[in-house]
Every structure is written in C-alpha cells, then in structure tokens.
C-alpha cells in the first residue's frame, strides 16, 4: 500500500517546526559504507533502516495553513496529518483553523498541540464535534510519541482513502 507521508505543521513558533523536522525527518543519515565494513569486519548483519522519512510542510498562521491545505487538495497531493498549535496570535487559533480545514479536507487527521489547556477536552469537543480525526498532544511532547502519531495517522489516512 502506498502510504501518504505528507504532514503539515501549523504553529506560530518556529522552534516547534524545527523540533518536528528533527523527529520526523532526521538529517543524520546512516553511513551505509561504514555499516557494510562493520558487517565484513565483525560478522554482524547491519540494523534494518527503521527511519521512515516524512514530507514536512510548515505554516506559521492558521489561515496560511488552511490556504496550504486547500492548495494541496486541489493539486491532488493532500496532507494526511496536521499538527496544529492552539495559540497562534494574532490570527485564528487552533480550533478555528481546524474548523476551516475540515470544510475542505474532511478526512484529514489532526493532532492539536497545546502547551497548557487553553481549551479543555470538553470545550474542544463542543466546538469541533466528537471526532475520531482528532488527537491531543501536550507540549512538551515526547519525540517517540510524535513519531508514533505520525506513523499511525498517516497509515490510518491511507487505509481510509485506499
């Protein structure tokens, strides 16, 4: 199955974008040559490459993110997952952005990120409706948690759209 690994990050904080990129598309690549030499020298099989690469796009405001989603939907390269921050002054906040996104991309899986509870879960449900497309990720987050979310949700999207 062809898995859509396109992920959109919407956050007003550039450092967060960097964090996501570090987690989801690591730059330090495994040295293949070294690995094969190690195999010959020490007689060990090389570790299988587990790091799956994601295609990360960034938006620094809710409206920009929404525009990007629309653009990609039209181009036929839709995003599977979006990580959306709750607080993004001065424009739309996360909940407002998600509302807009779902009007154009209703199947998009969304992880809402929050440093502290600007909204309680109840409030979010009240505003966005009960949904299996939404998860909450609390900051500061665990990189593994982010990786798991990215893997699972991209696969979920791909299965739903297969």
């Amino acid at each position: 199955m062809n898995i859509n690994r396109r992920i959109l990050i919407i956050d007003d904080n550039r450092a967060i974008h960097e964090d996501f990129k570090k987690i989801l598309s690591p730059t330090v690549a495994a040295n293949d040559k070294l690995n094969s030499l190690e195999g010959q020298l020490f007689g060990e099989s090389a570790e299988p490459a587990t790091a799956e690469k994601f295609e990360i796009s960034s938006a620094y405001q809710g409206r920009d993110g929404f525009e990007l989603v629309k653009e990609r939907e039209a181009a036929g390269t839709p995003f599977a997952v979006a990580f959306v921050d709750v607080r993004m002054p001065p424009g739309w906040d996360g909940v407002e952005t998600i509302n807009h996104i779902w009007t154009v991309a209703p199947k998009m899986q969304i992880v809402i990120c929050t440093a502290f509870s600007d909204y309680s879960w109840e409030q979010i449900v009240r505003q966005l409706g009960k949904s299996d497309r939404l998860l909450i990720l609390r900051k500061p987050f665990d990189p593994v948690e982010v990786q798991q979310l990215a893997f699972n949700l991209t696969e979920k999207w791909s299965k739903l759209n297969a």
Partner: protein, 724 residues
C-alpha cells in the same frame, strides 16, 4: 246710531266668559256710549265674537259716511244752481229795464219789472238811473230795495242767507245808463235741500235696518257654536251620556259638530287611557330608576368608604413605613409630606421638613443635578445614590427611588430614601479585603506560573526535550562502539598479528574502516555539539522567561474597572527613566467622558510597557526632535481603544503577521516573546492587540482593544480559572 249688539245683547253673552270675574256687559254699560262699548268688546270679546261686531260697526260707518257725502254734494249743487239762476235772473231783469231807462219811462220800467214777478225765485227788483235815483221798483212781499243807491255802485252778486242780490250796471255808448238790482230768494233751494235730507235719512234708516237684519241673520250661526259648545262640553264631560244622541243636549244645527266632538271624545278617551297607561309605565319606570339610583348611591357610598379605608391604609403605610419617605413637589423640590421614619432618621421635625427642599437636604451635589435626576417620564425609577445631611450634620448615603403620584391635586413624587451608609461601608471593607487577597496571591506568584510560564516555557521546553532525546539517540546509536570492536578484534588476533594484517588478513580493511569511523564520529560529534548548543540556548531562554516573569510579578485574573488614562499613567511611570534617557516625548490624547475599562490592571500594564518599550526602541534611529510617541484613547460602545503611534523604524510588510509569533524578534538581544505575550494577554482579558505599519521608516501603530466596564463589582476572570 244704535250699537250693533245692543238690542240682543243678552243673546250674545258668552256662555263661558274667559274670566268669570270680569264684569258682564249690561244695559247700563251699553248706555255709556259706543266707543266705551267698543272698547269693552275689544277687551273682553273672543275673536270669534269681535269680528262680526266689528263688521257691523264698519258697515254703519260706511253708510253714514256715504249719506253725508251725498247730502253735501246735493247741497252744493243746489246752491250753485240757485246762484246761477239768480245771476241769470238779474241779467234778464237788467235787459228788460234798459229801454225804459233810456227813455226814462217809469211805467214801462215798472211793467217790465212786474213781468218777472212770476219767476219762482224773484223776490224784488229795481231800476235806478245813472245818478242812483230809482226809476221803478217792485217786490213780491215787502219792499227791501232802497230808493236811492250810490252812483258808484259796482256790478256784482251779493249773497245772503236767504237772498241773492244781483247788481247789474247798464251802459250805453261807453256812458253809464243806469243800474238794475235784482233780489232772488233762496227759499226754494232750502226746501229742496230739506226734501233731499228727508229722503237720505229714510234711505240711511232703511240701509241700517238691512245691515241689522243681515247681522242678525248671519251672526247667530257664527256665534252659535260658542254657545252650544258649552252644552256640548257639558254633554261630552258627562260619562253617562250615550253616544249618538247629542241632539238631546244641543241645537240640532250643531249636532254635526257635536257628533264630531263625540268622536273626538272617544279619541280623547282612548288617548287618556293611553296617557294613563303611559303614566303608569312612566311611574314604574321612575320607580325603577329611583331604585337603581338609590342602589348606585349605596354602591358609591360603599366604594367611597372602601376608598377612604384604602386611603387610610395607604396613609398608614406611608406614615408608619420604616423606610424614610417624602412627598415632594416636582417644580420646587419642596417637601409636601414626610413620614415618621424620615423624621426619626433625619432628626428634623415635620415643620422643619416643610421648610426644606431636597436640595437643601442633599450634601455635596449641585441643585441642578438634583432636579435633573428627578426629571424622568417613568412612573417609578431609581434616582441613584446621594449624600444627605442629618440634623446633627452627619452625612449619610441614601439610595433614592421615586414614584409619580398625585398629591392634593398636584403631580408630585414620592421618594423612598433607603440608608445605604452601612452597606457602602461594608462594601468598601470587602473591596479592601479583596485587594489584600490579591496582594497576597500576587506575592505567592502562583497564578502567574500557571499562565505565562506554562505557555512560554512549554514551547521552549519542547525543543529542549526534543534536543535531549535526539542527543540520547545519538549517544545510544553512536558508532563509537566500533573503536572497542576494533580493539577487541586486534586483541583476538594478537597471537598472529602479522597474518591478521597480512595480505589476506582482515586487518587490511581496518585503516579504511577507521577512516570511515572517524568521519562518522566527527559527524556525530558535530550533530551533538549543535544539539547541545541549541539545548543550552533553550535553557538560557527558559531562564530568561522565568526571570522576566519574576520581574513582572503580577496578579492574574482580577478584572476591575480602571480608567484608561490611569492605566497609561501607570505604564508610563514604569518606563519613565527609559523614555527620558532616550529623549522620547509622549503625547496622550483622551476622549472626554471615557468610561472605565473592565480589565486586569497588571496584564494591561505589562502590554502597555511592552508596547512603549518597543516604540522607544524603534525610535532609536529617529531624529531626536521627532521622537514622539502619541497615545490616543477612544471608545465605541462596548470597547475602548488605546492606540500607540510611534515615528520609529516601522515594520516591513512581510513581518507584519510574524511580529506576534513566539520567538520572532528583530532585536539583537530580543527573545521574541514580548509582543507574543502581549497579544495573548490582550486576548485573555477579552481584548485584542493589533499592529499596523506602512513599511520601513514610516513608524508603527499598535491598537489595544479592551472591553469597557459594565459592572462595577470585581470578578475573577475565566482565563485564570482555566489556567489554574
């Protein structure tokens, strides 16, 4: 002349005089004369009786007048005839004596004169010579003519009562011949006149008789009904009388009338019955109405009693109400009535109150303001809180409520004065305690950690976390273990190193491997360094945030009514030294009547300090004369606006959306969370922070929108409760 009604007066007397006390006309009164009688008539007679009588009277008068006219005409005619014939006789006599006079023969003259003696009118005649001596004279009876006349006697006719003397002068050839005088008698004329008179009298008598006869012939039928009606009336009045026999009672001539009257009588009876019935109905109607009216009166009395009772109740309610109350004239604000509670509470007597106005009772308020407060169309309304002065000069706080009432015919206001002095005191104490509580919580600094730190530190901590876990991964998966593996490999082959490093030995691969490993380790080290560097930076960032939060220690979430200018004053005071050293002047323009803002003093102060500091820094490169920061305060309905305009370096278009982003900064020493924090704080207090600039070098404008105070009581904001 007989009066028309005299003879049969008795017959014509009215059967029912109009006025029974009026004197009845009698024969004696009839003798008093026609005029008086006529007056009597006109006075007493009914029109029906008066008309025929007057007709008779008029007829008599006409007859008499006609007789008089006829007689006068006759008399005049007779007289003129006599005169003419006398004159003619004179002339004839004169002619007959002409010749004798010429000849002077007296005998001839006498003969000529005697010839006239046969003339019926002739009385005497004489002929005179021209000198007046008589020639001859003759007479029927005695001699009446003189022997000698005056020679100058003129011709003419001289009339007497019984005789006419005619003198004729005879002339011949212009000379006087003589005179002839003839006397003619008027006896014949008188005789004929008498004859005529007798005839006329007879005629008049006959005419009068005719009139009388006619009057008698026609008057009775006209007058009869008046007589008979009496009888008819008597008959008609008698209920015993049978219908159809009026002739038994009245003249047959008027029985027709009587029958008609009888019919009328029946009709009248019917009408009477109807009237009687109507009267009965009317009577019962009146009785019913009277009963209704009495009932109404009774009800009204009851209502009046009830009203009086309710009035008394209300009066009692007013008088004995524990709340001080005044009834006040709206025009003059004078007291018209006050209750016992007012007297007791204020200490003034009723009489003293009556001399006072609300204005004199009110302390520390303009009289115009007081009267304006009561100028409302509403029937009842709150007048607000005022300070009143008691008689002992104590000032009390009162809340006034006014209701429009009509008192003694005038529109007045009844004013309830509730003493709120104690309540206000308690409220002030409560506010005091609230403030103390806020101070305490600020010192504890709990709330601040919850909001600012969690958000700002949370973001940085995220990066720290990621860096740390990446570093961990690096260390976990480091190829540095390869060095140990090489060492182990060499140690294992220590016995035969030559073969190991020999042309077929594995050792041949080691230099290449070590080179690759070195490369890898260097890359790993660089990545780790980079990550560590970032980690350090982030940790420093966290330290800065904490330090800044501590320096701006504040109470979170207390919303209170604060005047916008006081907020700006606070902020300016905090950065005063900075502004002075940078040479920045600040102009504050506030709209008059700006209400209080409903907001968190510390949050807004932080925002304002941030904005002012930004503006100050932005103007570092501006000309010293142009370093002006303009602050405008305005409002629209539910929001107030604080607009800060600097003349600094401005903001490039592409940065306008990013200036509020966390971590975005253009300052070499900046952290990029000043505006971010300010925008978040503005949102937390229900406002908004926006920025605008036309580009580099044009300055920037920041607008802080904040809600206007609607309720005075302080409230804990929702944001802080969420934050907790």
């Amino acid at each position: 002349m007989p009066a028309p009604v005299t003879a049969d007066e008795g017959t014509y007397v009215a059967f029912e005089p109009r006025d029974p006390n009026a004197p009845k006309p009698t024969r004696q009164t009839a003798r008093r004369g026609l005029f008086a009688r006529a007056i009597d008539w006109l006075d007493q007679g009914t029109p029906a009786r008066r008309v025929p009588a007057l007709a008779i009277l008029v007829a008599h008068c006409v007859l008499i007048c006609a007789a008089v006219v006829c007689f006068t005409f006759d008399a005049v005619t007779l007289y003129l005839d006599a005169r003419r014939s006398a004159s003619l006789l004179g002339k004839m006599v004169a002619e007959s004596v002409r010749n004798p006079l010429m000849t002077g023969q007296a005998a001839a003259a006498g003969g000529a004169l005697n010839a006239f003696a046969a003339h019926p009118q002739f009385q005497s005649a004489a002929a005179y010579k021209h000198d007046g001596r008589h020639l001859s004279r003759t007479s029927k009876d005695s001699e009446t003519l003189p022997m000698q006349i005056n020679a100058d006697t003129a011709a003419g006719t001289d009339f007497g009562l019984f005789r006419v003397r005619h003198t004729e002068v005879l002339t011949q050839d212009g000379g006087r011949l003589g005179f002839a005088i003839t006397e003619a008698g008027l006896g014949g004329m008188y005789l004929r006149l008498a004859e005529r008179l007798v005839l006329l009298a007879l005629g008049l008598g006959a005419a009068c008789f005719c009139v009388r006869w006619l009057a008698r012939r026609f008057s009775p039928p006209v007058l009869l009904p008046f007589n008979e009606l009496g009888a008819v009336a008597v008959w008609a009045k008698d209920p015993e009388v049978e219908a159809g026999k009026p002739s038994d009672y009245v003249d047959p001539d008027v029985s027709g009338i009587a029958k008609a009257i009888h019919g009328l009588r029946g009709e009248i009876h019917k009408r009477e019955e109807k009237i009687e019935q109507l009267q009965l109905e009317f009577k019962s109607d009146v009785e019913e109405r009277t009963r209704e009216f009495e009932q109404q009166i009774a009800e009204r009395q009851l209502a009046e009693e009830a009203m009086k009772e309710s009035e008394q109740r209300y009066r009692a309610l007013f008088e004995n109400n524990p709340v001080p109350m005044f009834v006040m004239d709206l025009e003059t604000l004078k007291f018209v009535a006050v209750n016992h509670a007012a007297v007791k509470h204020y200490g003034y007597t009723q009489a003293e109150f009556m001399k006072m106005t609300l204005t004199s009772l009110t302390h520390g308020a303009d009289p115009i303001e007081v009267s304006r407060a009561f100028r409302s169309e509403a029937k009842s309304f709150d007048v607000g809180e005022w300070h009143h002065r008691r008689k002992n000069n104590e000032i009390i706080d009162v809340a006034l409520t006014a209701h429009a009432i009509v008192f003694a015919g005038k529109v007045t206001k009844i004013v309830l004065a509730t003493d709120v002095t104690e309540r206000n005191r308690t409220q002030r104490q409560l506010q005091e305690m609230h403030k103390k509580l806020m101070e305490t919580s600020r010192q504890a600094g709990m709330a601040e950690v919850a909001t600012g730190v969690l958000h700002n530190v949370g973001n940085v901590l995220n990066s720290v976390n990621v860096s740390a876990s990446l570093l961990g991964d690096n260390v976990r998966h480091t190829k540095a273990v390869g060095v140990k593996k090489v060492a182990d490999l060499i140690a294992a082959n220590a016995s035969d190193l030559a073969a190991f490093f020999g042309p077929d030995g594995k050792g041949q691969m080691l230099p290449g491997y070590l080179a690759s490993l070195a490369e890898q380790l260097a890359a790993e080290q660089a990545a780790s360094f980079s990550e560590l560097d970032q980690l350090q930076k982030n940790i420093a960032h966290i330290k800065d945030i904490v330090a800044m939060q501590q320096s701006h220690a504040r109470v979170v979430g207390v919303l209170e009514g604060i005047p916008a200018d006081s907020l700006i004053e606070d902020a300016l005071r905090l950065v005063d030294a900075d502004l002075k050293s940078s040479g920045v002047r600040v102009e504050v323009n506030a709209e008059p009547g700006m209400p209080e803002l409903h907001t968190d003093r510390h949050k807004v102060t932080q925002i304002l300090v941030n904005l002012i500091t930004n503006a100050r820094q932005a103007m570092d490169n501006t000309d010293a004369d142009d370093r002006i920061l303009t602050i405008n305060i305005s409002r629209d309905g539910t929001h107030g606006y604080i607009v800060m305009q600097d003349r600094g370096c401005g903001i490039p278009r592409e940065n306008l959306t990013r200036i509020f982003n966390h971590g975005f900064t253009t300052k070499p020493e900046g952290h990029g969370f000043g505006l971010h924090g300010a925008a978040n704080a503005a949102k937390e207090v229900g406002g908004a922070l926006t920025g605008a600039s036309d580009g580099p070098g044009t300055g920037a404008t920041f607008t802080l929108k904040l809600p206007v105070a609607s309720a005075e009581e302080p409230a804990v904001s929702e944001a802080s409760s969420k934050a907790a």
